[in-house]
Symmetry: C2
Subunit: 358 residues, 2 copies
């Protein structure tokens, strides 16, 4: 069976080399006579995996010693609550930039904890761009942004310069480009786009913020629990963290984040060029200056053509191109593990499809 061209929005494509390695050692991890899934999380063999994942992430993202790396569960959705539970104190205001329904959800969870403020929003224009006119509230606890917006296909090309702690949901573009971690107070990301399979969430937190977590918080919802135990307070999702370590090794083999970033820019350029040169047949959803290098969103002239497009694409092994159920249209998610060949195959299909219609 030919491998599918996987444009899923997440869970999404994983590097073939990573899957092959996982397959090869699935029954016998490093001559232990057992699967990595069967190792005790207190064993030295698993500990080395756990440590390697952290070490590689630190190295690849150039994470400074001022920041801790934590492995959690529950996805970004649980972080929507953990961020304010740990960092939004009485009398303070959680500031949010609304760039799609994920940031909206993040703010809704914060409202259950304390005061919130919309610092900027592009909601009135269907979130088609990244708003940069940020107006902070009084006594802001932090400014929360979503670095890449999977549903609408926008991405912060430059991060806002603010004097307040900057928090970013980077679920869909972590490790896809070089960023300066020291500018962020906290970064969180579900793994299932650029880091590995679903089931593990990475949190990068500036250490001084750990003191803000109240002891009355549920133990599993206090960042300090993870920091003090190296994310081994209870049984972590060991297989997901193992897969993360393999994906990180793969990124390193690709030449690191800068090489990956360059490739991602090329991939995005291939797709956007096809859209822009389609004489209006394909319309990009996001405004040009806010276009995402991870999720390329576009529409066809009508719903009937969209359906036909998706059905024929699927027949050709181009999978996962339907837009998010909340907006419709089409979306090609081209995370790190999606290679240029897949983008070229998609563009070829898009061109042929358009010419057959006209």
């Amino acid at each position: 069976m030919k491998r599918a061209y996987n444009f899923n929005a997440g869970p999404s494509a994983l590097p073939l080399a990573v899957l092959e390695r996982a397959q090869k050692e699935l029954l016998n991890f490093q001559q232990t006579g057992m699967s990595v899934m069967e190792l005790s999380h207190r064993s030295k063999e698993y500990d080395a995996v756990h440590e390697r994942a952290e070490m590689l992430l630190r190295k690849l993202m150039n994470i400074p010693d001022t920041h801790d790396v934590l492995f959690l569960q529950g996805g970004a959705s649980l972080q929507f609550s953990m961020v304010p539970m740990n960092l939004l104190k009485e009398g303070e205001v959680g500031n949010y930039v609304l760039t799609d329904s994920w940031s909206d959800k993040a703010m809704k969870e914060a409202k259950k904890v304390g005061a919130t403020h919309v610092a900027a929003s592009s909601k009135e224009e269907q979130y088609t761009y990244i708003p940069t006119n940020i107006e902070l509230s009084e006594r802001p606890a932090y400014l929360h942004i979503t670095s890449n917006n999977t549903i609408v296909g926008t991405q912060w090309r430059e991060f806002p310069n603010v004097s307040v702690d900057l928090i970013a949901d980077m679920s869909s573009d972590i490790l896809s480009r070089d960023i300066d971690v020291s500018r962020f107070a906290l970064i969180y990301a579900g793994a299932q786009k650029n880091l590995g399979p679903s089931g593990v969430t990475v949190v990068i937190i500036r250490k001084d913020l750990l003191a803000k977590g109240d002891d009355r918080l549920p133990t599993m919802l206090n960042y300090r629990t993870y920091s003090e135990s190296r994310s081994l307070y209870n049984t972590p999702p060991t297989f997901a963290i193992y897969m993360l370590s393999l994906v990180l090794e793969w990124v390193e083999e690709q030449g690191g984040v800068q090489a990956i970033e360059k490739k991602n820019a090329e991939k995005a350029a291939i797709l956007y060029r096809c859209i822009d040169e389609s004489e209006g047949f394909y319309k990009g959803h996001a405004k040009k200056e806010s276009r995402s290098h991870m999720n390329v969103t576009f529409t066809l002239p009508n719903e009937e053509l969209t359906k036909k497009f998706l059905a024929e694409a699927k027949e050709k092994g181009l999978i996962g191109l339907a837009g998010h159920r909340s907006v419709g249209g089409c979306r090609a998610s081209i995370y790190n593990a999606v290679d240029i060949e897949a983008c070229e195959a998609l563009v070829q299909f898009m061109d042929t499809f358009r010419k057959n219609i006209f």
Copy 2:
């Protein structure tokens, strides 16, 4: 490489047939051209996996229609908080039976939410037995028990007959024996002992209790969120749920829970017989009437011998026999996937070791 005899307390042994199947289809799940890890959680292929896991668990445990089956993350440790956050209301008291440090931790988390009461405890005798003299508080919200205690090696052989909602942490013996689910208001279990790899938590909840969850709870900590979305509110840990579905298929092939229960009783009998016939060389930690069929805990005459025992066992491929760091000694965890052959190999080693010493 020979497969290890895996007595890990969790994560623990998985059935070889399950690992082989996962390995075989790791690169190409059901002719999709991708790994099960790469499937969208909204795809029909993943949905069938998700549904099958629920269906099989319902069938194997004979779960009545009055109860929902939910898939969560965060392990039993997060349930320690979610149970009281959802079910312990002002003016009510969470009742706990203390049978080892896990139940102790469960009660500590409940204390952050509301009032608690120790309904019974064997703490004063190092948790060596299951206390049955239960005294409920006034206005009890529920009675919480830990059905099997991995650290000390005790297990509820008969569940308490109480007029209040019964909640059980069954992390270490779910699916190991036939139980009457209708007697429980809520059952929760981390998967990493009898159900699959770490990273997914099963919750079985009586549906009327879902109404108790307050809308002000964080969305991800409200059981209703999972019930209303079939545990697909956000991206679930898809690979862990896939592995769960394979383990459940394996249990069915073994003849279901009753056949598994019979085998588990045999396995436990083999080990306890070896301990009881060792003329005091091996001492069982738990009192006989409370002995666990899942975790067989025992000590040797002194620490030096214990170290020697563990080192020689490891050389012979008998892995994971050290007792929990909080109590020391030895522990053989013999969950569903540990076969009789492994228990016989252990007993043979134990007998030889003893005879070589005397």
